[in-house]
Symmetry: D2
Subunit: 354 residues, 4 copies
């Protein structure tokens, strides 16, 4: 009810603030018998962690994961998996001047109005640091999906107005912006460096694809696979839009153009992005996610303080000039968790021999 | 779990197939004391009902609502509100030739793969007829919101490539396409008539605005107001994309452009669409929804039958050439239900004097 | 959240008041493929219905069930099953003198304090009439369980201080009090008739057994099978106690007496009532349920009215002198629903070949 | 879904195994603004902890609680409260001889059948050690309840066949068996010592009372306060029965005896245990809980091993001769959590001025 859980069967509950003791996640409903090597969880966290290159925040967090429960002799036992990451490299004093301000684009004002109280240090619970807990749980989801030969890949297809034309999957992790187009990647890197120097920030669009998803996943009418993916993505910090398959572009097509014809070996096209009637078709699941430019910028801004006075301020902490880059593994994790949940839920759809 | 419920506190469960006995909804968690006049529920259903003009399906359903429970002496009692609409004007034989086919763009194939069985008549449960139940529940939500001075308005801002420039709210219900731009509306009407004649269909984009929403609604980190709105919208038949505020367009802005500055009388701009950190800011909530062109078209198409044979067929039932038109009250209903749910959930955020 | 739903996977939502239009239930999460004959549902309702013999309420309700959705060509489709029963033989005027009173033992006072409003006619939502909806859904659960060879039997083991010694299952439905002991049954019948004549009422204890339940059902640590059964039973009108296996009596045993030894063909004893660590063992599930004497009695009583005045009154409606008799099929239904839910949930516990 | 969460609004999720790294709890939905001193949480844990006197297990765990999140400057912030207790004094080798056995009365067999895998060390997740996490969360619930002047007291009213006659609340924590009757307490202490020496164990009945609960708590028809309390209690290790008010005894009364008459200053009697129609009446909430004799006994027993061979064994670990003693704070905690949840849920029942 209070909103810190996601998923029905494969269900995560995250906790922790950016500058508190630790952040973490409890994963309940993971089936017994999945082999888990902690290094696989750590590897995903390393893809998200701060300080990984010079285009992301320079906060130095190793984000070392500790598994507290739910795994015995290298396998999941069916009991809840608890994982925590201690907060190490905090500079809470960076936030002293922001304590009584409502930073534009941030959750400062809304948390204050909602709870009457807020942990201002590093945005507290509203910090994107919370997404590390999602990535840890997502790593377990990926293991479950891998067992059923489902694979997820995310990447940036635009930053600002620079758009990727190519989809060369093999190069994604070889550039600093996780872009599958080598030319676009170069331009993006330059653009972000410029914005960083100017104390500004950029937005971007992430595309994420799941291959190998069997038909049948998704629970009509409200828990459609598309609906749960939309929620999963929109729950990520800074996300302002989600589309499936052709998304907004399909509104310009005619029905005769948009309908994907069925062939004996699959669909002739995939305008639908792998989902019809809210249920997976067996074709690739294709989702695109709009990430706004980071709200934390060094440029001087105007805002109100808690007393309602108009004040001028600038943010001096260590921040991402383009949060979309580090959001890629988060988007993958949320897709993995959503698919794992629906994969399990789909076991319930028919009478069977148990 | 099986997906036919939406909302946490203000929670609806819908049931019923297009060509079964009836469709309906149980609304649980509606607070006691709301005055309800059945004519207000009926009025919303009339806005969604088939046959309302010549650009929508000609199935003749009066969609007369029956309230079975939960209201006593004109007021809600806090017990579940049951509402049903009988199916009257069914022509199930229209579907005889489709019984063993998987219509492209439809849920035929996916339901069959999921359940191993399906009610093929009029798409069964996958029919957009189910959304009438949402509109009935939405009418109650609107009453609750009205008590707190919250108002919701939806309209079409594009059909195919025709886009509305104006936002003249007063004319929305005065044209057949619910468009707030009189010139665009005319072009849209003509375009739909052409498609209808050609046995084809059009998609469109709906914009929906909520005014008067207090700050504080939304439950971080997963049940963000934006996340729940995204799910609400994406759960509607034919929807393939959702965005909040500037949505995908904000990815092209810089942080310094996208951040909404705070003034003493509110926000200087509303790029955020009224939501920051997943919580309402007090500014207008702005959501846009991409509706694909209807999959049911009269044009001859190719597909597979249940045996895997490639077959040619055409659809002869009565269908909407542009489902986005009748989706407007559905989008409003889903927003109303989501806001009603979060309005109530927000009562739980603080210690209070009960 | 508002409490009118039960079950997680196999989930029912009931609605309706005693003197409203209808009562009903939506069953969501029933797997596709179960053959359902409406007469089987009706047969269970007939076991619960008013007027079935002279020791129960003489309200004449046929309780004819209407299935509105979810079944196609005689089988469940995986979509929600909607069922309603219209209220026919209402005498709302019987309640006119009770309109402003809080009847002792009833929910009048508590509903009024909770909601500030109440439907006083026949106890409204608090009426045991609501349990008919549970029995209808329970009939579907029984079909699911039967497919897996699970069988449920309930009966009265005491009324007042008269206790059954024998457990002759075959005679349960052959006496008016559903007692498996022919001698006790006769005494019970006489006792109830005496109380009825005296304008009073009797309580009783129901025992219910499930045979054929496989080991593994129940989800530690909170959704233990025992915990969910306890909730299921305690949610039934007039129930004030629940025990599993030896229950309260086992507190007088030593561990060495109470531990059920394992043999190669099962357990040597069944003090545990078929549940260990909250999970079924494969032995019979044994539950006992305490049902209080009906609160509606013809005898003159004292109470308060809404203004706080002390008043004398007597109840003239048609009521059960011993609600435990008609509660037997309700107890069976709630056990069936709980087991069906856990049978399905247990599909999720392990990695499998899907 | 997987069962490790309890509560709807005030919701806990526990994790951890007896011999793993740590056990813990995430409390989501705790309102902002409650002052929390960690020593208050620790004080409750100290009442439950092993080794507190010579009649309980001698495992030496300080059970020191660490609060990881959700509290800022001494107050709850509305974000999830994470708390962990590291496992320190484990002797996992004590369990080596039990690795391939199914101990009678334990969850060994059922976990193995459910998950196909189990952490055998100290019963793993099935250990009563998990209840420490409940007590930690319960301490926060008690703080919330205290703000609204609700107070909870639990104690033992019987061990074996020794029953308390008095209810002298002030002496409960002054004897080793938490009994409110000084004479009974002495007999109980002697009896437990005898059983301990004999390698056996005793059961008992706990009574728990909540004073100051306002009328209106409980959500009909399934989430009745009585139903949720029954589930809460039955979810505790070793509990086999629950009753409200007079419970099983009320089945022997007549309606005219059992109905609690209303007076201008409250109820004349409290047979109902403070709950009518599933909703609190304002009178004391009275619940009794049957705790079975501990399954871990030193006496030689027979059982099966994983291969199905009949084997003789005895348990050498450090165990409680009467788990009911340390279960008292657990029962209180579960009542506190249930009441906190319903106190908050009841904010949703009416239209209000928000």
């Amino acid at each position: 009810m209070a909103g810190n859980s996601f998923g029905n069967v494969f269900r995560i509950t995250t906790f922790g603030e950016s500058h508190g003791q630790a952040i973490g996640v409890i994963l309940d409903g993971c089936p017994a018998g999945i082999p888990i090597d902690i290094s696989e969880v750590q590897a995903q966290l390393d893809r998200r962690r701060p300080g990984q290159n010079d285009l992301v925040t320079q906060r130095q967090e190793k984000d070392e994961v500790h598994i507290l429960s739910g795994i015995f002799e290298g396998k999941t036992t069916g009991t809840p998996i608890g994982m925590i990451l201690y907060n190490i490299d905090m500079r809470s004093t960076d936030y002293d001047n922001l304590k009584n301000l409502f930073r534009p684009g941030h959750a400062d004002y809304t948390y204050f109005k909602k709870y009457g109280i807020r942990d201002h240090r590093g945005s507290g619970r509203a910090s994107a640091r919370e997404t590390a807990a999602r990535v840890a749980a997502g790593a377990i989801a990926l293991k479950l999906l891998a067992y059923y030969n489902i694979k997820i890949t995310g990447y940036l297809i635009s930053i600002g107005t620079i758009k990727a034309v190519e989809r060369e999957i093999s190069i994604i992790e070889q550039n600093k912006v996780r872009c599958p187009d080598v030319n676009a990647a170069k331009k993006m890197e330059t653009y972000i460096q410029e914005l960083k120097d100017a104390g500004d920030s950029a937005g971007g669009v992430i595309e994420v694809i799941a291959k190998g998803v069997p038909p049948g996943l998704g629970e009509p009418v409200f828990d459609k696979l598309s609906a749960d993916l939309a929620k999963a993505m929109m729950s990520i910090n800074a996300v302002k839009g989600v589309e499936i398959g052709d998304g907004f572009a399909c509104t310009e097509l005619k029905g005769s153009e948009n309908n994907d014809s069925m062939l004996s070996d699959g669909f002739a096209t995939n305008h639908a992005g792998g989902i019809l009637g809210g249920i997976s078709t067996g074709a690739d699941i294709v989702v695109r996610v709009a990430v706004k430019p980071a709200s934390s910028i060094a440029k001087t801004q105007n805002t109100l303080d808690i007393q309602g006075n108009r004040v001028e301020f600038s943010i001096t902490g260590r921040h991402d000039p383009c949060v979309a880059i580090r959001a890629v593994p988060v988007v993958e994790a949320m897709m993995a968790i959503t698919l794992a949940d629906h994969l399990l839920r789909n076991r319930l759809s028919r009478l069977s021999d148990m």
